[in-house]
Symmetry: D3
Subunit: 243 residues, 6 copies
C-alpha cells in the first residue's frame, strides 16, 4: 500500500527541531514532523507543588494546547469554553508523566520544570511530537541551570522520544499523519528511551480488537522510529548536552 504522502510504512516524516525558538523561555524548540508544528518551552520555577514541599525533590509538569487554526476546521479556544477538554487533559498528563520517568527528581532539587507545548499546526501525532520536542526544551533549560552553577549536571537518566504507530487497513505504519490516523483501526503511542525501555504504551482498538502478534509488530516499528528521533535530538543539542 502506498501511503498518502508517498512514504514507506516504516518511514518517519521529515523531522526538524529548531532550538532557542522563543527568546524569553529558559528552554525552547520548534519541532516540525511533516506538517505538524509544535512550540515547546521549558520554564524553570524555583518552587514545587504543595504536595512535594520540603522533600528535597523537584517536579516536571506540562500543559498542552492548540491554536484555533492549527486544524483544518477552526477549533474553539478552551479559554472561551471556560474549560480544558478531556483530550487536552489526557495529553498534558501524559507529557508530564513521560518526562518525569527519565528525570532524576532528587538531583533537580526543589524546583519545577514547567513545560508548555503549543501546537501551531496540526497534522497528526501532536502529542508524540510534543514529547519529543519537550524533552529537548527541558534539557536546554536544565543546561542553563548547570551553567548558572545551580546544578552539577543535567539530571536526566536517559534520552526520551515518542512516536505513533498504527494499523490502517491491513498495513502497520510508523508515524501516522492526520489522514492515516483518522482511518486507523489500531492506534498506539509509544514512548521509549535510548536504552530500548518503555516509558509508556497506549494502544487502543478503534472498533476492532487487535492480536498479540500485531502488538509485537507495532512495538518493533515504534522502536525503529524512536531511535531515529533520539539521533536527531542528539544532533540538535550537540555534545555539550551530554548526561
Amino acid at each position: 500500500m502506498e501511503r498518502v504522502d508517498g512514504r514507506r510504512p516504516e518511514q518517519l516524516r521529515s523531522v526538524k527541531i529548531t532550538k532557542d525558538y522563543i527568546k524569553f523561555a529558559e528552554g525552547s524548540v520548534l519541532i516540525e514532523m511533516g506538517e505538524t508544528k509544535v512550540i515547546c518551552t521549558a520554564t524553570v520555577e524555583e518552587k514545587v507543588p504543595p504536595f512535594l514541599k520540603g522533600q528535597n525533590k523537584g517536579w516536571v509538569t506540562a500543559e498542552y494546547a492548540m491554536l484555533p487554526r492549527a486544524t483544518q476546521i477552526r477549533t474553539q479556544r478552551e479559554a472561551v469554553k471556560g474549560k480544558i477538554s478531556g483530550r487536552t487533559n489526557e495529553i498534558q498528563r501524559l507529557i508530564g508523566r513521560a518526562l518525569r520517568a527519565v528525570v532524576d527528581l532528587e538531583s533537580l532539587g526543589e524546583r519545577t520544570i514547567f513545560i508548555d507545548c503549543d501546537v501551531i499546526q496540526a497534522d497528526g501525532g501532536t502529542r508524540t511530537a510534543s514529547i519529543t520536542g519537550a524533552f529537548v526544551a527541558m534539557v536546554l533549560a536544565m543546561h542553563k541551570l548547570v551553567k548558572a552553577g545551580l546544578l552539577e549536571r543535567i539530571p536526566v537518566r536517559a534520552w526520551l522520544a515518542a512516536v505513533s504507530v498504527g494499523k490502517v487497513a491491513d498495513s502497520l505504519l510508523l508515524d501516522l499523519c492526520y489522514e492515516e490516523d483518522s482511518q486507523a483501526i489500531v492506534d498506539m503511542n509509544v514512548i521509549m528511551t535510548d536504552k530500548n525501555e518503555f516509558v509508556e504504551i497506549q494502544g487502543t482498538a478503534e472498533g476492532y480488537p487487535f492480536t498479540r502478534e500485531e502488538l509485537d509488530s507495532l512495538l518493533d516499528l515504534a522502536k525503529t522510529g524512536i531511535l531515529q528521533l533520539i539521533d536527531i535530538q542528539q544532533l540538535v543539542l550537540g555534545e555539550e548536552y551530554a548526561f
Copy 2:
C-alpha cells in the same frame, strides 16, 4: 513476596457482581472486587450525539465519579470544584472507548447507551472494575431492548473485561489493591475480550522504565485474570444473555 492481603501474585481479589442493583436503570450492577465497590448503570436514550445523526448507528458513552468518602481521606466533589478532573476525564473516556470496541454500533440503531460508574468504596482498580461491571450493565440494558422487540439480538461481538497488573518491588502482580498500586513502579491496565484480543493497553512507568520482557510477562498475567472475570460475568448473566 507475600502480598498485603495474603494473595498469591497471580490471584484476583474476591469478585462479586450483583445484577439489577438499581431499580430504575435499564441495566445495573454492583461490582465488588475486594473492598472496591462500584455501582454501574446503563441508561438507554433513543437518540445519538449530534456528530452521529442520520448515520443509522448507535453510541456508547460513560461517566465516572467517586463518592467523597469512597476514599480513606474525603475527596472534594467535582460538582463543588465546578469541573471534572483530568483523572476522571481519562477514565470515563477509557470506559466508553472500551465498550464501543465490542459493540456493533450499526445493529444498536440510532440510540445511545449511557453508562454511569459511581465508585462507592475505592481500594484500587476502580477503572478496571468499572469496565468489567459496566459491560454487564450494558448487556442487561440491551437485553431489555431485545425483549421489547426493539433489537433482534444483543449487538455485542465479544465478552469484555479489564484488570490491572503491575510491578511492585521485584514482583509482577495481578489485580493491585490500593496499597500495592501506590508502590508500583510499573502500572498497567489491560482490557481484553474472551477471544484473547486486546481492546486497550495502558502501561506506565512510574519513575523507572520497563523492558520488553517485563511487558510480555505482565500481559500474560493480565490474560489469566481477564478470563476468570469473563467466567464470572457469564455466570451472573446466565445463558439467556448469549450473543
Copy 3:
C-alpha cells in the same frame, strides 16, 4: 383513599438503617425508606471553617447529591453542568442547619463533622431520609471520637429525625413517595427532636394556599412519624450510644 402503595394515610414506608456501610468513613449508614436509598457518611476534620477559628467551637456541615440513575429518568451530573443546582443547595443547607440545632458545638471542640448524603435510589423524601440517616452517621463518628478519648461524651442534645407530610387530593398523608409528592397540593418537611420540639418546618402551597387547621393536622401527623423514626435510630445504635 387508598394510597398508591397500599399504606394507610398515617403509615411510614418500611425503614431500614444499615450502619457502618462504608468502610473508610468515620460514621456511615445506608438508610432505606421504601425505595428511597441514601448513603450517609460522616467525616471528622480536625479544623473549622475560617469564620469559626479560635472560638473553641466545632461545626457540622453537609453535602447532598444524587447518582444520575437514582431517578426514573437519568439526571445530568452537577459536576458536568459545572454547578450545584438551587435545589441541591437548599437541601444541603437544610441538612447542616438541622444537625447543628441539636449538637453542642462548644463540646465538639474545634473540629468539623462533614456529612455527605448521596442518594443512590430516589422515590420521594430524599431530603428527610438524608437527615434521619445523617443523624445516625454523625453519632457513629462522634462515638469514635469518644472511644479515642478526644471527646468525653457524644455532644448531642436530642435525637433528631425528619419526615415529609402533605395534602394529596383531600387526604393528609405521612411520608410521601414520589408519585404522591408529585400530586401534592401542600408539601411540608418537618424536622423534630425526641422532645417534641421543632428544628425546622418548611411548608409550601403548591398552587393553592392552606389553612391554619390543615397546618395543625399535618404537624400532628409528622410528629407520629418522627417518633417512630427515632425509635428505629435508637434500636440501630443500641445503648452504647446514649447521650
Copy 4:
C-alpha cells in the same frame, strides 16, 4: 424588652412602596421597610420555559441580588465569584414559588412574568420585603397587559405579602431588623394571603428547638403584620387594580 429601634414587639417598621420606580420595566416598585430598600421590577416575556410549552399556561419566576454595598461590610459580587450562592438560590426560588401560588397561570396565558428583586440597602428582612414588593410590581405589569387588551383581568387569586417573625432572647418579635435577626434563636418567614391562608412557612431553630406553643404565637404575630402590609399594597395600587 425595648427593641433596638424602639418599636413594640408587634410593630412593623415604617413601610413605603413607591410604584413605577424604574422607567423601562413593565412593573416596578421601590419598597422600603425601615432601612431595608429593594427595587422590584416585573418584566413580561411572551414565552414560557421549555417544560411548559404548548400547555396554555404562563409562568412566574424571580431573581434576587444585593448590591455589594447594600451591606455594612462590602459583599463580593456573585458575577465576580462566577456563581450564585446557596442563599441567593433559596431566596429566588422562594419568591417565584410564593407568587405562583396566587397567580392563575392558565389565565395568564403562554407568557412569563420575570421578577427581579435587587436589594440596594439591607437591614434584615430582604426576602420578605422582596416578596411584598414583587407582588405589587407583578400586578402593575399584569395591569398593563389588561390595558393593552392582552388579558381580560389581572389573573391573581389573592393579595400576598410576607413578613419575618422570630424569638429574640425571651421575646417574640414582628419584622426583625438585621441586629435582631442576628440574635434570633427562632427565625421564621411567613407568606400569607389576604384570606388568612398560608403560602409558605419556613421556621428555623437557630441552635435551640422551639415548641408548638411558640410556633402558634409566632404565626399569630405574622398574621397581624401581613394584614397591615396588604393594606399598604392596596393603598398604593388603588381601586383600579382590583381582582
Copy 5:
C-alpha cells in the same frame, strides 16, 4: 438638527448628584444624567492588592454592573451567565484607571478605595456618569478618613469628570442619550481634569473613520461639558471638601 430630547448640540442633560445615598457605604452618591441613573459607592479597605504590598502606596479599583431592568429589554445577569462580559470589563478597568490618575496613591497609604457603580436605569452615557459620580463618592470616603485622623488631607490632585461626545448624522453632539448613541458614527468618551488636562480619550469610528478636524471639534465640545460637571461636583461637595 433638533435633538431627540430638544437639547442644543452643546447642551448637557439635566444633572443631579445626591450624596450619601446608601447608608452603609463610606462614600456614596446617586448620579442622574437625564434618565441615566447610577448608584456609586466607595468602600475603604485597610489593605492593598498583593502586587502593592509593602510599597507604602494605596490603590483605587472599580466594579460596574447594571440591574437587569436598567435597560429597555431585560438584560441577563452576569452572575447567572457566570462571567463578566467584555463590555463590563472594559468599563470597570476604565473607571479605576481614570480615578487613579488623579489620586496621590502614596498619600492614600496602604489602603484600597473600592468603587462600585451600579446602573439602575440606563439611557446612554453610563460609563461617563459612573466616573463623574464615582469621583464624588471617592472624595466623600476620603473625607471620612481625614475626619477620622487617618489622612491629613484628601489625597486628590485634581477634580475629574467624564462625558461622551459623538457625531450623529452631520452634527457633533455633547452627552449622547441612548437613542443618539445608537445612531452615532463617531463615539468618544473623554475624561478630563479641572485643569483642562486629559486623563483618557477613547474615540471610535462606528463604521466610518473620522478626520483630525472632527477630532479637534469633539474635544472642544467635551471640554465645555466637563467643566460644567466639575462645577456641579464642587457645588454638591461644598467647601469642606477642598483639596
Copy 6:
C-alpha cells in the same frame, strides 16, 4: 534621550510580515515588530452571528491570546483560569471593531471573517501588531473568496494599520517596546487608514494627565508610523490585492 534599543524617537522597530504562515487557515501571517511576534489567521465561516441573521451583511470578529512563555515571566493560561481576562477582552474587541470600520460588510455577504491573533513572543505593542497583521490576514482570506468567485472584489474601503505612541520621561516616542511601555506616563494606541483618518484613538494617562499640545504631537508621530506600516502591508500583499 537614547532609546533602550538605540532607535530615534520617531523610528519604528524592524517590521517583517510573512504571509501564508499557517497552512490550513484561509489567510495567515506571522508579523514581527522587533521582538514582538504574532501569528494572525483569518477563518471564513459561511454564517453570521444571530443578531445579523437575514440582514444581508457580514461580520468580522477577533480573538487574541498569548502563549504562556511569550512573556519574560510565564503567564498562566486563560483556559486554566477558566476565564478570559479583562485585558484580553478589551484587546479582542478592539481588533474586531477596528477591522469592521474599513470593511464593507454589505459586500462581504452573510459570512463571518474570524480573526485569531496569537502572540508567540511579546515585547510591547502586541495589540497594535495584531491589528496590522490581522488586516493582511483578512485581505488574504477575502482574496481567496474573490478567486473562488464568491466575492466580486475585496470588500475593504481603506488600508488599516495601528501603532503605539507614548511619553517616556520627557520624550514623545513612536512604537514603544516593553521596557519603554512600562515606564510611559502617557500611552496611546492609534489606528488609522491610508487616507489619514482615524479609526480608533485610545490615550491613557498613567498617573499624570496630559495636555492638548502633547496629544497633538503624539497623533502626528503615530501618523508617520502608520504610513510606513501600510507601505509594508502593500509590499507584502503585492498588486494583485488592490481594492
